[in-house]
């Protein structure tokens, strides 16, 4: 993935002027077994967020014996199955500092080898000492690995500056990137975590009041939780603000049909179809229409 501002590499100079030293000393430590730095690092940040996953359970979810390692996507997915929201931080030392200040350790991907002979490694940043120029990590079998910031930045650069924090749904990342945060919540929703997604969308709406996507997400969470009346109200509020949202009309129709308000449901589909949706959306709407008609016939028996 290319990001527009990746041309400015992270450096010590971006730390706040007043930055001295911070260390989350109470972060737990799970020494890794052979090759299993991914599960060990993930268990560490999960535990710090209050999720009680055991190292063994996490190993089963993210460790790929064939590759002797874990993929970033699996770390993200495993976090979701614990009902937590994984958020990939900005590629900067300042972002790590900010998260540490909030009390969240940061899981980072490092390449301890060189680019030609990579040695991938996951570790958890628990402290930065700006005055001494050091980073403190839970890493491998070291409870407290102290590395020079410059060295850390080299290994982190070769790891693509990838780092994530584990949020309890309802917590905002510090200096959140809207689209990245929203993608993270949508992924939680897709993992079937409607309850947690609802909290996260509510939090998002406090930061971005009236945001169309967040309102849609919250309504979807209600629908997924089978709270049909709440879902109906939420979709209607949204459509009052932004009438031309066929996806919201489609879902509103489902919420209405679930309450056996079939005629109103079909009316919503009709309105959406009359607004020239794209072909894929039109198919969705037609499918929903057929579903509603089917249920109508069933209810009439």
């Amino acid at each position: 993935m290319l990001t527009g501002c990746a041309s400015i590499p992270p450096s010590v100079s971006e730390l706040p002027q007043a930055a001295r030293a911070i260390e989350l000393e109470d972060t737990p430590f799970y020494p890794q077994e052979r090759y299993q730095c991914g599960p060990a690092a993930l268990t560490t940040v999960l535990a710090q967020s209050g999720a009680g996953a055991s190292l063994e359970a996490v190993v089963d979810k993210v460790y790929l014996p064939g590759r002797q390692g874990s993929l970033q996507a699996e770390l993200l997915a495993a976090t979701r199955t614990e009902g937590r929201l994984p958020y990939v931080i900005d590629a900067s030392l300042a972002a790590i500092w900010r998260e540490l200040e909030t009390g969240r350790p940061v899981l980072v991907l490092q390449n301890l080898g060189v680019e030609a002979i990579p040695r991938w490694h996951y570790a958890v940043v628990v402290g930065i000492d700006a005055e001494r120029g050091e980073v403190v990590l839970r890493s491998g079998t070291d409870r407290r690995r102290v590395t020079r910031i410059r060295t850390f930045l080299h290994t982190w650069r070769r790891g693509g500056y990838w780092g994530m924090v584990v949020l309890v749904p309802g917590q905002l990342p510090t200096a959140p990137n809207r689209s990245r945060y929203f993608e993270a919540i949508a992924a939680l929703e897709q993992a079937g975590r409607a309850e947690e997604a609802a909290w996260a969308w509510q939090t998002a709406l406090r930061e971005w009041p009236g945001d169309t996507v967040a309102l849609f997400g919250l309504a979807n969470a209600h629908l997924a939780k089978a709270e049909y009346a709440a879902a109906e109200t939420a979709y209607r509020d949204l459509l009052e603000r932004v009438p031309d949202l066929p996806a919201a009309r489609n879902n509103l129709a489902l919420a209405l049909a679930a309450q056996e308000k079939f005629d109103t449901a079909l009316e919503q589909i009709r309105v959406a179809l009359s607004n020239n949706p794209d072909p894929a959306m039109e198919k969705e709407l037609r499918d929903t229409e057929a579903t509603i008609r089917g249920r109508m016939a069933g209810a009439g028996d």
């Binding site: 041309s7 993992a191 975590r193 894929a280």
Partner: protein
């Protein structure tokens, strides 16, 4: 297409979650997920970024010099899938991360690249 993919992924997730979790909830069939709207939004952002490029005077002049109708290019852009748009943006980004794209690689190149990717020309295949 995006919807089908999302639905496929959802079905896989649903089947996995039924087996191994008690907490996950299954969204009703036919519900369009929030990811769809996010996808739509980022597609629109890609489009407008490329359209801003096309609207630049130096780029527009080049298009005209090649005898290409700008409306045609915009029309082709609109027909691209989100993945294709992202690829086009990625290609533009790959030339220069951040900064002024046109200043660094020149309007002619940008125009050629866009034309190639929206299928108006077929120059780069020969390289």
């Amino acid at each position: 297409m995006c919807l089908q993919k999302a639905r496929g992924a959802l079905m896989r997730l649903v089947s996995v979650s039924i087996i191994c979790m008690g907490f996950a909830q299954v969204a009703p069939a036919g519900m369009i997920g929030t990811a769809y709207m996010l996808d739509d939004e980022s597609r629109a952002a890609s489009l407008s970024r490329i359209e801003v490029l096309l609207a630049r005077q130096d780029v527009a002049r080049q298009l005209e010099a090649f005898g290409v109708d700008q409306a045609l290019v915009v029309q082709r852009l609109n027909g691209l899938s989100h993945a294709e748009l992202l690829e086009l943006e990625g290609q533009l980004d790959a030339q220069v991360a951040g900064g002024d794209i046109i200043g660094l690689i020149g309007a002619v190149f940008v125009v050629l690249l866009i034309l190639e990717l929206v299928g108006v020309t077929d120059i780069f295949k020969s390289f």
